[in-house]
C-alpha cells in the first residue's frame, strides 16, 4: 500500500441498508476535503477495497474509521474486530452501528422464526421446507455462506467504540461538521471530544429543534396519523395525540419529520443522558395525558397500538433489553 504521509481514513458497511454511504456521498464537495486531508485507505463504496491490505497494516495504522451497519452474522463481527485493531479512532456511524436500528427489531423473534417466516411466505414455493445451509455440498464442491447470529448486535457489543454518530442516516450537514472538526484536530486547531462521546448531533431533544408550538395542552387519547382529518401544522403533534418520539430522541436532524407533518420515529436514538429510551418516552407521553388517575393514564397509554415498536423502534438491540425472551433463548 502506498502512503503519502497523510493519515488514513476508512469507512465500512456491515449489515446496513447503504443509506449511511449515500448520506456521506451527499456531502458533495466536502468529500474533496476528505481527499485533501486523508489517505482513503479502505472504503468499499468509493475505491479499490483492499481487505488484505487492511489485514497487512500495522495495528492502529488507520487514524479514523466510520463503521456503519449492525452485526448480523459472523462475517460482520470478524470485520469489526479487524477494523478495531487497525484503527486509532473507531466511530459507530449511524443508527445500525450505534443502537441496532430497524433490523434490530428482529431481536423480538427467535432466529429460527425469522428464517421460517422468510422461507415460507405466501409466494414461496418450498414444499420441502428448504433452509439456507451454512455449508452445502454441491456436485462440484462445498460452498459456504456466513452463519446468521441469533440476535443482531450493535458495534459496541462486539468491539470497543470510541465515538457514536447517530441518525438513520446521519444528516449530511452533521457529517460535514464532523469532518471539519477532525480536520481541525489534525491541524492542531481543535481537541477531540472525550472517548465515548456522541458526535454529529445535539445534546438535547428533537423537540428543542422543533418549530411546532407546545402549549402543554393535555390529551385524552392517542390517535393514528392516518385517522386525523387535518393536523394543525403549527401545533405539537404529540399534543394533537399523535405519538411523536421527539421528547426522547436526540436532536441533530433539525426536526425534519415534524416539519414535514410526520411524527419523529426516533432515528437519532436516545437523547443525552437517557439510559432507557422507552422509559423516557413513556414518561413524556404520560406527562401530556390529561389525567392524574394511574388507571386512566394506563388506559390511554394502551391506545398506543404497538408499544414494543413505539418505545424501542430504533434502539432495541442497543437498549438494556437488547432482545426479547424468545431471541435470548438462542445463544447470544
Amino acid at each position: 500500500m502506498t502512503t503519502n504521509g497523510k493519515p488514513k481514513f476508512a469507512m465500512y458497511w456491515a449489515a446496513s441498508c447503504g443509506g449511511c454511504e449515500i448520506a456521506v456521498l451527499n456531502i458533495g464537495e466536502k468529500i474533496l476535503d476528505v481527499d485533501a486531508n486523508f489517505e482513503v485507505a479502505f472504503w468499499p463504496v468509493a475505491m479499490d477495497a483492499k481487505y488484505k491490505d487492511v489485514e497487512a497494516m500495522e495495528d492502529g495504522a488507520i487514524l479514523l474509521t466510520l463503521f456503519n451497519g449492525g452485526i448480523r452474522n459472523e462475517e460482520n463481527a470478524e470485520i469489526a474486530r479487524l477494523l478495531r485493531r487497525k484503527s486509532q479512532i473507531l466511530v459507530a456511524f449511524g443508527s445500525c452501528a450505534c443502537e441496532g436500528c430497524i433490523p434490530g427489531l428482529a431481536n423480538l423473534s427467535k432466529p429460527q422464526d425469522v428464517l421460517d417466516t422468510v422461507y415460507s411466505t405466501v409466494s414461496t414455493d418450498n414444499p420441502n421446507a428448504v433452509r439456507p445451509q451454512y455449508h452445502y455440498q454441491m456436485p462440484e464442491g462445498v460452498i459456504h455462506i456466513p452463519t446468521f447470529y441469533p440476535v443482531l448486535k450493535t458495534l459496541d457489543q462486539v468491539v470497543d467504540v470510541d465515538y457514536y454518530m447517530p441518525g438513520c442516516p446521519p444528516e449530511s450537514h452533521q457529517i460535514a461538521a464532523v469532518i471539519d472538526l477532525v480536520i481541525k484536530v489534525l491541524h492542531g486547531e481543535a481537541q477531540l471530544p472525550a472517548k465515548g462521546a456522541t458526535i454529529g448531533a445535539g445534546n438535547s431533544t428533537v423537540c428543542d429543534d422543533c418549530p411546532r408550538a407546545r402549549n402543554v395542552k393535555l390529551i385524552k387519547k392517542f390517535v393514528r396519523i392516518q385517522d386525523v382529518p387535518e393536523l394543525d401544522p403549527h401545533l405539537c403533534l404529540l399534543e394533537q395525540g399523535v405519538p411523536c418520539n421527539g421528547p426522547a430522541t436526540r436532536n441533530g436532524c433539525g426536526a425534519l419529520c415534524p416539519q414535514a407533518g410526520a411524527q419523529c420515529i426516533g432515528c437519532y436514538g436516545p437523547a443525552e443522558g437517557v439510559i432507557d429510551y422507552g422509559a423516557r418516552l413513556i414518561t413524556a407521553f404520560a406527562s401530556v395525558i390529561d389525567s392524574n388517575d394511574p388507571a386512566e393514564i394506563e388506559r390511554i397509554l394502551d391506545g398506543i397500538p404497538d408499544p414494543a415498536g413505539q418505545f424501542y423502534r430504533f434502539n432495541l438491540a442497543g437498549s438494556l433489553l437488547r432482545a426479547a425472551k424468545p431471541a435470548w433463548q438462542g445463544k447470544l
Binding site: N76, V130, I145, C168, A262
Partner: protein, 488 residues
Amino acid sequence: MQRITIDPITRLEGHGKIEIFLNEDGEVANTYFQIPELRGFERFCLGRPVEEMPLLTNRICGVCPEAHHMAAAKAADAVYKVDPPSAAKKLRELLYMGFYFTDHTTHFYALGGPDFVMGPNAPVAERNILGIIHKVGLEIGGKVIQARKYGHHIVEIIGGRKVHPCTSIPGGLTKGITEEQRQEIEQIGRWAVDFAQFSLQLFADIVLGNKEYVDLILGDIYTHKTYSMGLVDENNHVNFYDGKVSVVAPDGERIGKYAPHEYTDWVAERVEPWTYLKFPYLKKVGWKGFVDGKDSGVYFATPLSRLNAADGMATPKAQEHYERFYATLGGKPVHQRLAIHWARLIELLYAAEHIVELATDPEITSPHVHNVPKEKPSEGVSIVEAPRGTLTHHYKTDERGLLTEVNLIVGTTNNYAPISMSIKKAAQSLIKKGTVVNEGLLNMVEMAFRAYDPCFGCATHSLPGQMPLEVTIRDAQGNPVEVLRQFC
C-alpha cells in the same frame, strides 16, 4: 476439479460471491452466485402498525428507500381500501420521478457507464466516474453531481428527508407543496430533460459510434432469451408508480397483464439451500432450472424488460428514443442484456419529462393531499417499478391495522436467476482451457451482472453494481494456486 471464487473482498461475502468450478479440461463446469446475507423484514415487521411500513421498509435499502416508501404507502392504502386524493398520488409520483432521475444518473455515470465509456479492458483505476470525467471533460462531472443533487432535492421537498422520506401515510401524504416549491421543481425538471438528452447523445457518440462496443452489445455472450416483465399504464406505456404488470414471452407475445392483488397467480419464489436469497419465477410457466426459453419460468425485470413489456413511452421525447432503440437493435423484444444501459437512459428521459408534466399540473399544489381511511384494515398488495425491478409489497393486518403477514419481492430479487445465468454464460464463453483469467476478463464476467444494476443493496446493501472481486483459483485439492483481485 478447479474452483475460482470471485469474492467481494471488502466485506468478504457481504455483497455476493461467485464460485466458478472448472472441470478436468479446465472449462467451466458450473457457477454459483451466492447472496450471503439476510435481515428478515418479513418477520420483524409483524405486529407493527401498517402506517409505519413506509418508514420501516425504507430501511431495507438506502439506495432505493423511495421505492419501498412508495410500495409500502400504496399497500397501506390498499389495506384500508382508501384512495388518496389525486394531488397526493401525483405528488408521490413526482417524488418518485425525482428519485429515478438521481438513481439512473448515478448508475450510468458512476457504475455501469465506465465499462463502455472507458472500455472493459481499461485499467481498473480508470474505470470509474473520474475516468469518465477525464475522458469526456470536467464539465460533465459537475453536471452529474448537479443531477444527483437536483433529484434528491425533489425527494426532500416532497418527502421531508433526502434519504428515507417520511411523508407518505395511508390515504395520501402528510403535506403538500407550495407554489415556490412547485416552480423550483419545474425548473429542475426542465434542466433534467436537457441532461437526459445530453446523456443519450453521449451514449450515441461513444457507444453506438464504436463498432467494437456495438458488437459486444449484440454478441451472444450477453444474450438471454427469457420472459420480460414491467409495469404499464392503461395505454401499455411504461409506468414506474402504478398500473398492471405486463409479461412478455421471449418471442414477444404478451402472455398477460396482472393487477397487484393477482401476483401470487403469476409469480412464485424458489428456495435453494446454498444462498439466502430466493429465486422468483413465473408460476404459470414453472421452474425448469437456470435455463432460457419459452418453457422456462425465468424472467427479468430491468429497464430493458420494461421497454420490452410495454408498447411505448408516455412522453414524446422518450418515445422517439424508444422507436430508435428498437429500430437499431432489430425489433422487439431485445434480449441483449447490455442494452439495459441504453434502455436506462431512455427511462431517464421519461422520468425527466414526467417531472415537468407533473410539476406543471394545475392540481399539484392542492392542499388536499389526504383522505382519512374509513374501512376496516385487512389486506393489501401494491406494486411499483423500482429502478432494479418490479417491487411487490403484500400485507395482511388484524382489524387494528397491525401486521399479521408480510411478503416482499424486492426489485433485484426478480433478477437473481437471470443474473446467475448471465454470469455462467459469460464465464463459459470467456474462460476456456488454457485461458489466463486476467482482470479484464473478470470484468467482462462482472459486466454480465452489472448491466442489471444489481442492488443486492436490497439484500446485501452494496451500491448497485459495486462489486470488488477476488478470484481464487484452486487446484483439484482445493489449494489456491493463484489469487487475482479487482475493484470495479
